[in-house]
């Protein structure tokens, strides 16, 4: 009598967990189905819309890769190091080096001039200016960002170009013309002008991000410096700049990203025609950048020519991706640190 009962008990005990698990599965499944509330739907919808950014970036890279397969298939790595740009059918030959270098040189000019001015603005507006001037002045600087890039280009072409030619390039080519970088005649229709227009365009970005970084520096940093008798400038140097340097560095890289991707203003003032001649050996000659070449030739390109422009696009895409990811990481690090999470 005891044995059967025992066995029954055993079987039930053995079967029970399995049954319970089964119950649980079907239960939660039905519960999920029944309890799939409007809230879950809302979360699902919001998440999928939020992920659109990811989709856009993936699709962009796929489209660019597919479009440039032909040109990379034909020229391989030579596309990146070549200097020819021959679009006539039959003798087509494409190399991106002059435009890659053109982009880097113009962006380099932009960032080296832009960072100095932007840093000065950021320091002045966050640490030195009398408080009644701070807000109006930063508003005015912010307005620089509101001016459309095509208007920078138009102004650059018909106004700024002549300032650069008369006050900068003529002296440079007269007195420093023996330096290869300043070879050439001063026309104002060249790489230097493009770089300077870019430097104006990135000032609002770089200065506002560095200002934000400086304002995020805890005031204990400043108080400590003041307490040992530092002047305002010493406070900035010791307390603020050193503390916020990775954010300021990030701001500069962010500006570099903008300069690399900027199209219209550069296209309008850089004044070169594609080919080996536009290798940026001197700042006083016409150049072509990745984006300006895409903008000017995309409209009438077909076949391999179009594929070559896609190839330029993918180089630009990679530049922008790497630069922006790097910049964001630098900027984010500062805000994390000052948020009190790290350190």
């Amino acid at each position: 009598m005891g044995i059967p009962r025992f066995s029954i008990l055993a079987t039930t005990e053995e079967a029970a967990p399995a049954k319970r698990a089964e119950d649980k599965v079907s239960d939660t499944f039905f519960q999920k189905l029944k309890g799939f509330s409007s809230d879950d739907l809302f979360e699902f919808l919001a998440t999928s819309i939020g992920s659109l950014v990811l989709v856009i970036l993936i699709v962009t890279s796929v489209v660019l890769t597919r479009g440039s397969l032909a040109v990379f298939g034909k020229f391989g790595f030579g596309f990146l190091t070549g200097t020819d740009w021959n679009t006539s059918l039959g003798s087509e030959s494409y190399g991106a080096l002059p435009y890659i270098l053109g982009t880097l040189v113009t962006a380099g000019i932009a960032i080296s001039v832009g960072i100095l001015i932007s840093l000065g603005i950021a320091i002045f507006l966050s640490e030195m200016a009398p408080s009644f001037l701070r807000s109006p002045l930063s508003q005015v600087i912010e307005l620089l960002a509101a001016v459309p890039s095509v208007i920078y280009g138009f102004w650059g072409l018909f106004v700024f170009r002549f300032w650069v030619r008369d006050y900068l390039e003529t002296p440079l080519s007269t007195y420093l013309g023996w330096i290869p970088a300043f070879h050439g005649t001063a026309t104002g229709y060249d790489i230097l002008t493009a770089g300077l227009v870019l430097s104006i365009m990135i000032i609002p970005t770089v200065s506002s991000v560095s200002k934000e970084t400086m304002m995020a520096v805890p005031s204990s940093q400043r108080e400590a410096a003041y307490s040992i008798g530092a002047t305002r400038w010493e406070v900035v140097k010791l307390g603020v700049l050193r503390y916020g340097r990775s954010g300021i560095f990030g701001a500069a890289i962010l500006g570099l990203g903008r300069a690399v991707g900027e199209t219209m203003a550069v296209t309008m003032v850089i004044g070169g025609t594609p080919g080996p001649y536009v290798l940026p050996t001197s700042l006083l000659k016409g150049g072509v950048t990745l984006s300006s070449l895409i903008a000017t030739e995309f409209g009438d390109a077909t076949g391999l020519h179009l594929s070559a422009l896609f190839g330029l696009g993918i180089v630009l895409f990679l530049f922008a991706l790497v630069i922006n990811i790097f910049a964001r990481l630098m900027v984010w690090r500062v805000f994390k640190v000052t948020g009190g999470i790290v350190e």
Binding site: S38, D39, L41, F42, E43, A46, T47, L52, V53, L54, L57, V59, V63, L64, G67, L116, I121, I123, F124, A129, L137, I141, E142, L143, L144, V147, V150, I151, G153, F154, W155, L157, F158, V159, F160, I200, I203, S207, E212, E223, G229, T231, W233, E234, L254, G257, R258, G261, M264, M268, S291, A295, L309, F310, L316, F317, A320, N324, R328, W332
Partner: protein, 306 residues
């Protein structure tokens, strides 16, 4: 900090600070001021030149006419007519972009603010920031391949609107997120205490509390994309006729300005370009100034995202 500066100025510390250190401080101050002035020169010059040269181009015909080439008595061709087509095209594109990008950006911003506090959400926020700084011409290539050629939509207002929306989307997303984050916890808690669903609370309580921040962000980003031209070069084609459908080619002010600048050997082109620039800058700056003045001192976090 304010008071500290004041103390430093008035206290005896100042007199005991060696003069060369004070001198360096003065130099730093002047250099900072110089930088601000230097940055304002281009802005002042752009505004001055655009207004001065643009004003001479303005006329009723310029504002309402379609582009036309006339032959001068000398036998040369000259540009006459107006840019109404481009003005209309820009307004259509702005409207279309707002219709596409604002709802999507709103929802994406809600996602980041309400559900985005995890690994995936953080990566989305990161990618969103990366996309917002992306070269706009690459987005032009994307839309050209997918829509204009891929789906055979052709050069059209629709393709242009989609391209501008992709540029605007990350900005609206971030400004929405920042505005929602400004909503105090107590408001959210009060809504939840009423027992309503979270989506309901988010839409009718949180979003409506954050409304003015969201609107500020949306308006400023529309102002920003209204001046975009690079992606439009690859997506809208050009047109000298008034708007006739979303699948038709359109013109836009920025693209027109670019084309006029490259045709500056044609007489009248440069003047028309300045005129178009004046209209574009008035449009953009008015939108900007109006929003900034209306929200002065508020939504710093929202504005810094534009």
């Amino acid at each position: 900090m304010e008071s500290l500066q004041g103390n430093w100025r008035n206290s005896r510390v100042r007199t005991s600070t060696p003069s060369w250190r004070r001198f360096k401080d003065r130099i730093a101050f002047s250099l900072g001021f110089l930088c601000v002035t230097l940055a304002m020169i281009p802005l002042a010059s752009i505004l001055f030149e655009v207004v001065r040269n643009g004003a001479t181009a303005l006329s009723v015909q310029f504002l309402t006419g379609t582009p036309a080439l006339v032959t001068l008595p000398t036998g040369n061709a000259a540009l006459a007519g107006g840019i109404a087509v481009s003005i209309e095209g820009t307004l259509v594109l702005m409207g279309l972009t707002a219709v596409i990008a604002v709802p999507i950006g709103l929802l994406a911003g809600v996602y980041l603010a309400e559900f985005g506090d995890n690994r995936f959400g953080r990566s989305i926020r990161f990618l969103n920031d990366v996309l917002s700084e992306f070269p706009s011409i690459v987005i032009g290539i994307l839309v050209y391949s997918i829509l204009v050629v891929g789906l055979r939509v052709g050069f059209s207002a629709f393709a242009g609107g989609v391209a501008l929306s992709i540029i605007m989307l990350p900005i609206v997303t971030r400004t929405t997120e920042e505005s929602i984050k400004l909503v105090p916890r107590s408001v959210r808690d009060a809504a939840m205490a009423l027992g309503i669903r979270k989506w309901r609370a988010t839409i009718s309580v949180v979003l409506s509390t954050a409304r003015s921040g969201v609107v500020t962000g949306a308006l400023l980003s529309i102002a920003r994309i209204s001046g975009e031209s690079a992606p439009l070069l690859l997506t809208i084609g050009t047109s000298s006729y008034f708007f006739s459908g979303l699948n038709q080619q359109v013109d836009a002010l920025p693209v027109r300005i670019f084309l006029l600048s490259s045709e500056n050997y044609v007489s009248g082109a440069q003047q028309q370009g300045w005129g178009a620039a004046l209209i574009l800058i008035v449009l953009v700056l008015c939108l900007n100034l109006a929003v900034r003045i209306a929200t002065r001192g508020k939504y710093g976090a929202v504005r810094s995202r534009i």
